[in-house]
Amino acid sequence: MFDAHPDLTEAVVHGLGWLYVILFVMNAWWTVVAYRRGTHTRVRLFGLLEDGQEVPTAGFWALYSALLLMVAIAHFQVTGSYAAENFLIRMPEWLKVWIDAVIADPVAYFTLSVVGFAAVILLREWLVRPTVAWVLLNVALVFMALSMTDFDFRQIVGKPDNVPIVAMLFILGFFTWLYFRRAVENDRRIAEGRPLFEQEDNEKVLVWPDLVYTELICMVVLSVVLVAWGIVLQAPLEEPASAVKTPNPSKAPWYFLGLQEMLVYYDPWLAGVVFPSLILVGLMAIPYIDFNKKGNGYYTFKERAFAVSVFMFGFLPLWVAMIILGTFLRGPNWNIFGIYEYWDVHKLEVLNNVNLSEWFWLTLMQTQQPQSILVRELPGIIAVLAYLIILPPLLAGTVFRRFFHRMGFIRYMVFVNLALLMAALPIKMVLRWAFNLKYIVAIPEWFFNI
């Protein structure tokens, strides 16, 4: 039967073949690197070899590379649509279903991104090893290659405007890795009392040629990349603008999708105006809040663990992960879809959210809601005021005692309010998921919902 949306076509299979060729070349190079390094691994084969056998690590990489080459050749053998549709090397259905089930759920998605972020920080000394990083890169690329065998995944990832976002994920991963590598190295040096990485071989050099040539090469390479990118991928152009045909979903430009995601949890006046402004004010305030003199001009984690963790938390799980969620998982009616799931316009999600005031008066007090707006919303107003007015002095006496003494009153108040407002997003998310809470303060009469 003719399938209008085949998971695999000949062109796709051949394209993936080239991806495996690139993977093969990368790993062949890595094999050479491993061989030159001359490391060995002891193999016991589950006890079959009693004392084990020393095997050059390069051997494993050579095997893996050979496997990749065979996989690539298998892709190129495919001709015709029948062979393509029945091609065996593809993401198994059960795995797709399982991944979709995990990822198409905001609770699991956000929890995973936070846990992943914490794991990166805790396991940093292990992650910065080149072999570990290389294995992770391979896992990511093979996962991408296998996922590309799915029609719906290709639809969303292959959109020209989304290609830079996928690239950004890999680039961001690389630079975060590079940061931790340099930071772990420096932290070790500081602990041992040795000079920093940045202080070694740090002679003065002339800008011409040492810097000017680097800049020139950068410019040439980038120009080539941009022109090649422009030739390979055509800039998107959809139907002419029409004020009556609303696309579903309507998405903001991709870099604002983190803010659009916030709209799920907060009203536009907060998510679209107040929070973005506060993000900018908060960013500008960083140098005036951070009183730590250490870590200026070199990579370190231990000397400024708090500052780096907070900034990274804001950037990776709260900003970038939300953009990924908004770009790849949000479909029609702003519902969440798995990466292998068809964007069904008729997918229904039951929304049964309640306001704090409704819960307080109707469920807890078992009475009618009071007529007066302010009395009705009193529980929520008290909660918000307590959060913003009582918490700062409370924290100053406990968790942030040291900060309070070092910063002084004004600096501390700016810092703690920004921190609390940053935490307001994950807090509201958790409240929504756990208690179906819609608004803490709900005064639609005044457009004032929190």
Binding site: I171, V205, V207, T214, I231, S250, P268
Partner: protein, 257 residues
């Protein structure tokens, strides 16, 4: 005497480059001081300060992308007309028939790339603690440049005048309606009235100012075109100058103290 030497000894060449080629130490110093384009740099610099694994080159790449966007943008401006009648058709022609229509591709991909490199530059500057004294203010200038980069990209998003464009801008600008006090559906706007007459309505609020109307229409296209091609680039160029100047004045590329 070779042709090369002849050219290098001519009066024209010497009037442009006021010293011999930078082959020896002295002339490598002199070239940095006498060339307008190079004088942004210091004469010498610490080796680790310019190592790619330290700087990631992201600030430089962002500046380069800004130049690419300026050049391709000016070329596109020769062709594109920001009116309801022509905007979409001009872009269509750039894609299908126009020679060097690839300028649009480069412009769009360069814009995406610039947003990403600005973020990475900021990430690097944070992670090396380079915003710490004496560079606090330059970080503030950098945040302003980040905002303007996003606004440049946002205003440019509308210009192709296709479905993607107007609905992305509609979604984005709907937020302005909820601005506290200044948006017609924002908290506090009801308080701003004189004798029961509302000052903030859908025809006078923040969104109206942004769009030049109640919805995304021709006035919006014109407004965004001017912002995208003239107003924001001018401000960005000025701030870039300050940003670079301050890098030098605040002690050059950051280094361990």
């Amino acid at each position: 005497m070779s042709v090369g030497d002849y050219i290098r000894n001519s009066q024209i060449w010497k009037s442009i480059f006021r010293h011999p080629a930078p082959y020896d130490r002295r002339n490598r110093v002199v070239v940095m001081l006498t060339n307008f384009f190079l004088h942004l740099h210091p004469v010498n610099v610490k080796q680790q300060g310019i190592a790619l694994s330290y700087t990631w080159c992201m600030g430089g790449i962002t500046f380069f992308l800004f130049l690419v966007e300026t050049i391709t943008g000016v070329l596109l401006m020769f062709y594109y007309r920001p009116t309801l009648e022509w905007a979409f058709n001009d872009i269509l022609a750039l894609r299908d028939v126009q020679t060097l229509g690839i300028m649009r591709e480069i412009h769009r991909w360069g814009a995406h790339a610039m947003v990403i490199t600005v973020w990475l530059h900021m990430y690097r500057v944070f992670l090396t603690g380079s915003y710490k004294p004496p560079r606090e203010f330059n970080w503030v200038v950098g945040v302003l440049l980040l905002v303007l980069t996003l606004l440049l990209s946002f205003t440019g998003y509308l210009l192709p005048w296709d479905q993607l464009a107007i609905w992305a801008i509609t979604v984005g600008s709907n937020m302005a309606r909820a601005t506290p006090f200044l948006g017609s559906e924002g908290p506090g706007a009801q308080l701003l009235n004189i004798g029961g007459y509302d000052l903030i309505t859908s025809a006078s609020d923040a969104r109206f100012i942004l769009l030049g109307g109640r919805f995304v229409g021709e006035a919006t296209l014109n407004r965004f075109y001017i912002l995208h091609c003239v107003a924001i680039p001018l401000v960005v160029a000025g701030l870039i100058a300050i940003h670079f100047w301050r890098v030098r004045k605040d002690g050059g590329i950051s280094q361990p103290l």
